[in-house]
């Protein structure tokens, strides 16, 4: 019984319930001897393409310690959210011994793997990391406000339903290409009314954690602090003074969050005040909060931002002199043969042979 580790373009068949779906593993565009896969702490996510049709899918293969029976009911609950803005990945199938016995007999690694749509785009953390060396084209005060507004509307809609993502962070937010729309990923541990707690309670991600997050954040208020930081990152990233002092894949260094003095906070507050003083007041309120329930609701941000967004649409902003910046792909020159070289793909295929 083979490990699930497809070669690029390898055919993959998944039998789920009465459906049989045929895919191939998409090659990594930067290393075409490998299938495109992204490894995180809990899972490896492979990109699959339907053999007939144009659909791209993500197959999230859980690592051994995270193959938990609860994933089946979690996925069922999440499916109900798939129509909400930003929740496209909630349309999903979980492969279980009950609904995919043939597939799992062939490849036990796929137990509790999750099949869902592949969301194309940059993660917000990727934009932050690259932005200090360039930027996202076009990314100015206008697109910043649109992006932040769309994000706030998405999270506020969840908030209104008593739902929280519980691990909002730059790496879990995808910005759709050529747009200011966002999609949330890594949604398995979301708080939903009446849903049982996950086996591992989220504690947030460094750079977005409230002072209380270390105790676990799985509640309707769990997103308030992280959303505040993310909204402010999105709103101010067009400002070169903000970009210049950004930490890494988050704007704030984790340990400076909610600390007494922070020059990054000062720069962000200045940039926010230029947009609307109510925004800097909201950030101050979140920054100084002692608990997540003391943080402003995401709905409070949404209210201010939709007013700004309407101002943009109404043509109140003069954008002619706004700065914009461009992302470029990373590349570095290199060469040099040593002893002998073989193609990585051939080498890996040889390995499979053994």
């Amino acid at each position: 019984m083979a490990e699930f580790d497809p070669a690029p373009n390898e055919a993959i068949t998944l039998e789920i319930g009465a459906k049989q779906m045929n895919f191939f593993a998409v090659p990594n565009p930067k290393a075409n001897f490998l299938a495109l896969a992204i490894e995180g702490r809990k899972a490896v996510v492979f990109q699959l393409h339907l053999q007939s049709g144009n659909g791209y899918f993500a197959l999230k293969v859980m690592r051994a310690a995270h193959r938990l029976q609860d994933l089946e009911s979690i996925c069922r609950g999440l499916t109900e959210l798939k129509q909400l803005p930003g929740m496209r990945v909630c349309e999903r199938y979980c492969l279980t011994p009950h609904n995919a016995p043939v597939t799992l007999a062939r490849c036990p690694d796929l137990e509790y793997a999750i099949l869902m749509p592949w969301v194309k785009g940059n993660t917000w953390s990727g934009i932050l990391a690259a932005g200090r060396n360039g930027g996202l084209a076009p990314f100015n005060r206008y697109s910043a406000t649109r992006l932040a507004t769309n994000f706030a509307v998405t999270i506020a809609r969840l908030e209104e339903m008593g739902i929280a993502h519980c691990d909002l962070a730059g790496q879990n937010i995808i910005i759709e290409p050529h747009s200011e729309f966002i999609q949330l990923i890594d949604v398995e541990d979301m708080f939903r009314p009446k849903a049982p707690p996950p086996a591992h309670i989220p504690a947030g991600t460094a750079g977005y954690q409230h002072r209380t997050s270390g105790r676990g954040q799985w509640s309707p208020e769990a997103d308030r602090f992280a959303a505040a930081i993310l909204i402010c990152e999105m709103l101010t990233w067009h400002d070169p003074a903000v970009r210049a002092i950004s930490f890494e894949e988050s704007y704030f260094e984790p340990r400076e969050l909610q600390s007494g003095h922070s020059s990054r906070l000062d720069a962000m507050l200045r940039a926010l005040a230029q947009l609307d003083p109510r925004l800097s007041a909201l950030l101050n309120s979140a920054w100084n909060s002692q608990s997540l329930s003391e943080c402003p609701r995401v709905a409070d941000w949404k209210e201010v931002l939709t007013g700004l967004d309407n101002g943009i649409k109404g043509g109140n902003w003069d954008l002619k002199n706004e700065a914009s910046v461009t992302f470029v792909p990373w590349s570095t020159d290199m060469t040099k043969p040593v002893i002998s070289w073989s193609d990585w793909g051939e080498a890996l295929a040889e390995k499979e042979h053994h």
């Binding site: 490998l34 940059n122 879990n172 270390g214 105790r215 894949e249 290199m334 002893i339 990585w344």
Partner: protein, 259 residues
């Protein structure tokens, strides 16, 4: 707590591979597989895993920097210094033809000098890791142990440089006999092994940092706390464990607490 730093595009991890390509690496490791072939497979698996851990959308981030020295009594700087993982995979995979004697001390001296040059720019990065793949029979040059100890005393304020040894010698000599690699509990005491070369490699291995143990246990391996970063590469399962270990520089995780 040490070894807390994340490998990121701004604070990449540096992993230095030292590959023994002396003539004894032409010998069989198991079932018709030569030691050097197992090394080639190991390199390919490591590179594959690093790429996966470095993907940002469809881009490979600059999260890992690699250096690789192939050595016998001569030395070959495979990547001509240090390269980002995204650049390594633009080239072809290295394949070595074993020959000569085993000058491990010279290889560790090369690694020490490289790390000495790199450390001043690595103040905010995870400490470097040396991953040494060998069958351990040093038969040329001086004793490598003092140089390894010197390297293990280097570091930054996140921790000392780590040395991991992947042992391509006989499995019995490494105290390994379990049929299930996931139940292997590791080696804490060099004296528990019979082979003097294996003993030396254990002494030249750093203990696993707690932070790494967390990541390893997520793959359901049972390596005991305090074990040396010494892995007998006697079969594929253990090789996989070795890959996990040389890749466990923590990437930015979503922290979670056990409910």
């Amino acid at each position: 707590m040490q070894y807390e730093r994340y490998a990121t595009g701004d604070t990449p991890a540096l992993i230095v591979y030292l590959i023994d390509i002396s003539s004894s690496m032409e010998e069989e490791l198991s079932q018709g597989v030569k030691k050097i072939d197992a090394v080639h497979q190991a390199i390919d698996r490591v590179v594959k895993r690093m790429v996966r851990r470095s993907m940002k959308g469809e881009e490979i981030s600059r999260r890992y920097r690699l250096a690789m020295l192939a050595y016998e009594d001569n030395k070959i700087d495979v990547f001509n210094g240090v390269q980002f993982i995204g650049d390594v995979v633009k080239n072809k995979a290295p394949r070595f033809q074993p020959a000569g004697r085993t000058n491990t001390a010279a290889a560790f001296t090369w690694a020490r000098d490289l790390i000495e040059r790199e450390l001043p720019q690595m103040k905010h990065c995870p400490p470097p890791i040396i991953c040494h793949l060998t069958d351990g029979q040093f038969n040329e040059g001086s004793d490598p142990e003092p140089i390894a100890r010197e390297i293990m005393n280097m570091g930054n304020d996140d921790g000392k440089v780590l040395i991991e040894n992947i042992y391509f010698g006989p499995s019995a000599a490494a105290g390994y006999s379990a049929s299930d690699p996931k139940n292997w509990t590791g080696i804490k005491d060099a004296a528990s092994l019979s082979d003097p070369y294996a003993q030396a490699l254990v002494r030249m291995s750093s203990p696993f940092p707690d932070r790494y143990m967390e990541v390893i246990s997520e793959d359901k391996y049972k390596v005991a706390a305090g074990s040396a970063m010494f892995i007998p590469a006697s079969n594929e399962g253990l090789l996989e464990l070795a890959f996990v270990m040389s890749n466990t520089t923590p990437i930015q995780p979503s922290a979670s607490l056990i409910a």
